[in-house]
Amino acid sequence: MTATVFSIANQKGGSGKTTLAMNLAAGLSGRGRTLVVDADPQGSAVQWSGMAPERRPFPVPVIALGDNLASEIQRFRRDYDFIVVDCPPSLETERTNKAMLASDRVLVPVLPSPVDLWASMRLARAIEQIRPIRPGLEACLVVNQLEPRSALSRAMQEALAEFEIPALASPIRRRAVYRNVAIEGRSVFCLGRQGDAAKAEIAAIIEEITGP
């Protein structure tokens, strides 16, 4: 077994890395053995899973890794089908670079806002810079907190076309359930009908990133 490794990265804070990492991992766990690596010293992913009651743990193990994350991920590849790495909001530490180098695919959540788009350009450039030493590394933008009725959200398409890396066709909408599940240490996949729309959008992302 050798895992497919997804890094969720953007040096811009609050773009939705942890939210995407946790829900993506929960969704992927239906397809194979999945591990979340919390590479962020803030420890949000670890805290998220720690909110789950003992009788109903988060469906995926979450481990925190530090500067040795590249070699550790390499080691874990043998034991899992999917590894999802939640990166810190920084390019200044080596961790994001190490995580991306150890990955098969980088997912970059971006918010539909000018300031977030400008800042995310830096990460897109960093990805281009590591491609020569990590050939075959795939990368894509994932629009998060989309609000279909807002003019800016609708204007995203043209702006995303300016990035060197493509955007996934499936966006994530702004929904209260994404905030609520964190407090209970769950994912949208544990919800009943109120989670259906969110489940469908995470499932669509999984389809896109695991497809042929």
Partner: protein, 66 residues
């Protein structure tokens, strides 16, 4: 394309073509395209400033009762 879409796309293009220096965060040109001064700081046109009124003294307030 809507006006907002073309402005947003243009702003991203600008961020792409004129990235800040990764070390200093400084840009080579101003948003309007004028070169930055020798020290790299961007000189922008400023609106004339008016003397700010001095802030009214804050009454001392005890937040916590003794």
């Amino acid at each position: 394309m809507s006006r907002i879409a073309s402005r947003l796309a243009q702003s991203v293009r600008q961020a792409k073509n004129d990235p800040p220096d990764p070390r200093t965060g400084r840009k080579a040109t101003t948003p309007a395209g004028e070169p930055a001064d020798a020290a790299g700081s961007v000189v922008t046109r400023q609106a004339p400033t008016r003397e700010a009124p001095s802030p009214a003294p804050m009454p001392a307030r005890r937040v916590w009762p003794d």
